[in-house]
């Protein structure tokens, strides 16, 4: 199977014309004032997400991925451009977007079931009903049997699944994830990828994944946006034409390898720019 890589040069193709897009990110730019002047973290980024699609944004460290995550999730203001879900402009945290964070974010004082039921508790749902719904999502992420355990009794991968179940229980239109498996080892990451694929298959959940892991992005996505190193722009959009339903077995296929190689060739240049920039900063910071 041939990898299909769209070159991405014009802004017209940045915003798919599909009118059925559930989320649109239009001309987002984010600048920060630093002691060394104004830093453009994200520069004129536009894309659209189709319903049920799994879209990944991949880029080297320092490409503004996390800034983009916070802007789309409504946690960061002061940007230029517009984010909209189903036509409605997002100006802050919004019920249509559910976020899963990179850092471990379960509530240590709540059991698994109470963690997952948390958003339902906020919405005022009766206890019996919310426990039942929470159990459904706990089962979905494969943690049945652990309902009454505390996060401290679970592994890192299990805790991330609790966070994911908690966000899914919120029933967002878009699941927005920021490198949720970054802190986990490669095997756990692949197996959790399977779980995510299975969940997405079942729920038809529209998902936007921010990641720096190429394997993870290719394993899970329908499309991948490759970003440049600072300022973060979209360099290329890659359609992943791998069959679904997928499992982690796909990583051994030839087509998978080709996608990984193509994305790496795009990213390598950006990652090297990032690395040399970092070294320069460190040299400047510690003059010898």
């Amino acid at each position: 199977m041939a990898a299909i890589v769209q070159s991405f040069d014009s802004k017209a193709s940045a915003t798919p014309s599909s009118s059925d897009a559930i989320m649109r990110v239009e001309d987002i730019s984010m600048r920060f004032s630093t002691p060394d002047g104004v830093l453009t973290a994200v520069d004129d980024v536009s894309f659209a997400v189709r319903p049920g699609e799994f879209l990944s944004v991949i880029g080297p460290s320092g490409c503004g991925k996390s800034t983009l995550f916070n802007v789309i999730g409504g946690l960061l203001g002061g940007y230029e451009g517009r984010v909209s879900v189903a036509g409605e402009t997002i100006t802050g945290p919004h019920a249509s977007i559910g976020m899963v964070f990179q850092e471990e974010s379960t509530f240590p004082w709540r059991t698994v079931v109470d963690n997952v039921a948390f958003p339902l508790e906020l919405s005022g749902m009766a206890k019996a009903q919310r426990v039942e719904r929470a159990r459904h999502f706990i089962k979905l992420v494969g943690l049945d049997g652990f309902e009454n355990r505390y996060p401290s009794e679970l592994s890192g991968g299990m805790r991330q699944r609790v966070s994911m179940a908690r966000t899914l229980a919120f029933e967002p239109k878009i699941l927005l994830m920021d490198e949720p498996f970054a802190a986990l080892d490669e095997q756990t990451r692949l197996l959790l990828g399977d779980k995510v694929l299975q969940i997405q298959q079942q729920l038809k959940q529209t998902t936007l994944l921010i990641t720096h892991n190429i394997t993870e992005a290719v394993q899970l996505s329908d499309r991948i946006l490759v970003m440049t190193y600072r300022p973060g722009k979209i360099k290329r959009i890659v359609d992943i034409d791998l069959p679904r339903p997928r499992t982690s077995d796909i990583v051994s296929s030839e087509a998978f390898g080709r996608y990984v190689a193509q994305i790496w060739s795009d990213l390598r240049e950006e990652a090297s720019r990032g690395m040399s920039d970092d070294e320069k900063t460190r040299q400047g910071g510690h003059p010898r």
């Binding site: 999730g73 409504g74 946690l75 802050g92 945290p93 919004h94 019920a95 977007i97 559910g98 976020m99 964070f101 850092e103 471990e104 974010s105 509530f107 240590p108 004082w109 709540r110 059991t111 948390f118 958003p119 906020l122 505390y150 996060p151 401290s152 966070s163 908690r166 966000t167 919120f170």
Partner: protein
């Protein structure tokens, strides 16, 4: 049994604890009887044990125990309500916190107990003088640990709350306070130590109230065995208050 299995056993650690205590008591008994330690400074433990009946029947130590215990519990309740509230206020009003945090920390080292004449003037020779000194002396650790606990709430947990569109008040009650509770309890435990020391100290100083006054009277009569027996009751108050705090803490923070 291996060392780690012994450490995990429910029976062995307390057994070792009581065993060491019993051994030390026995060692004192022997050293005093052999005149290595003068019995005019430390009475033999057997004599202290025998004086218990006397101080219970003649000195009404149980009523005094209840008096001191209720003073400590009143101070503890006030500490929890007022201390934690001041901590929350200072955490939320940044300028107040910056303006007063160093003072509060300095107050922790101040010998508040020496201000007892002032408290006597304000509250009279009543249990309230004792309670208020205990309360004021114990405030700093509660305030400081409340601020520390709230400020230590992990950013990502607040972001989770914000992503669920929680209001500021929901963020506080449902995320920040539960996250800060273990640290707040550290402050409360420290505060209770301060309170108990000060309460018994003031009772002793102003010769009023519970166990402190009894210790004062017995010491003045040079009834050393009785004095040590009364001190055992102070330790008992401490054990009860701490067991109670631990129980409340376990109930409020079951995950720990």
């Amino acid at each position: 049994m291996k060392a780690d299995a012994m450490a995990r056993s429910r029976v062995i650690p307390p057994l070792i604890g009581f065993g060491s205590l019993a051994l030390s008591v026995l060692a004192f008994e022997v050293l005093i009887r052999l005149n290595v330690i003068s019995k005019f400074i430390v009475p033999p433990p057997s004599e202290i044990a025998m004086s218990f009946e006397r101080i219970i029947v003649e000195e009404h130590v149980l009523q005094r125990f209840v008096a001191t215990g209720s003073e400590v519990l009143t101070a503890a309740a006030m500490l929890t309500v007022v201390g934690v509230s001041i901590g929350v206020l200072l955490f939320q009003v940044d300028i107040l916190r910056r303006a007063t945090e160093t003072w509060v920390a300095a107050m922790a080292a101040a010998p508040i107990v020496l201000m007892y004449p002032l408290f006597l003037v304000i509250f009279g020779r009543s249990p309230w003088t004792i309670i208020m000194i205990g309360f004021v002396a114990a405030l700093p650790p509660v305030i400081l640990k409340t601020i520390e606990g709230l400020a230590g709430t992990r950013r990502v947990l607040i972001n989770v709350g914000r992503s669920f569109s929680m209001s500021e008040s929901q963020l506080f009650w449902k995320i920040m306070l539960p996250s800060a509770l273990p640290t707040i309890f550290v402050g409360l435990r420290l505060g209770l130590i301060f309170a108990l020391i000060n309460i018994v100290g003031v009772e002793f100083l102003i010769n009023f109230g519970g166990l402190g006054q009894l210790i004062n009277e017995l010491a003045e009569r040079y009834d050393l065995a009785g004095t040590y027996a009364a001190i055992c009751f102070v330790i008992l108050v401490s054990i009860i208050v701490f067991a109670l705090t631990e129980r409340i803490e376990r109930w409020l923070t079951p995950a720990n």
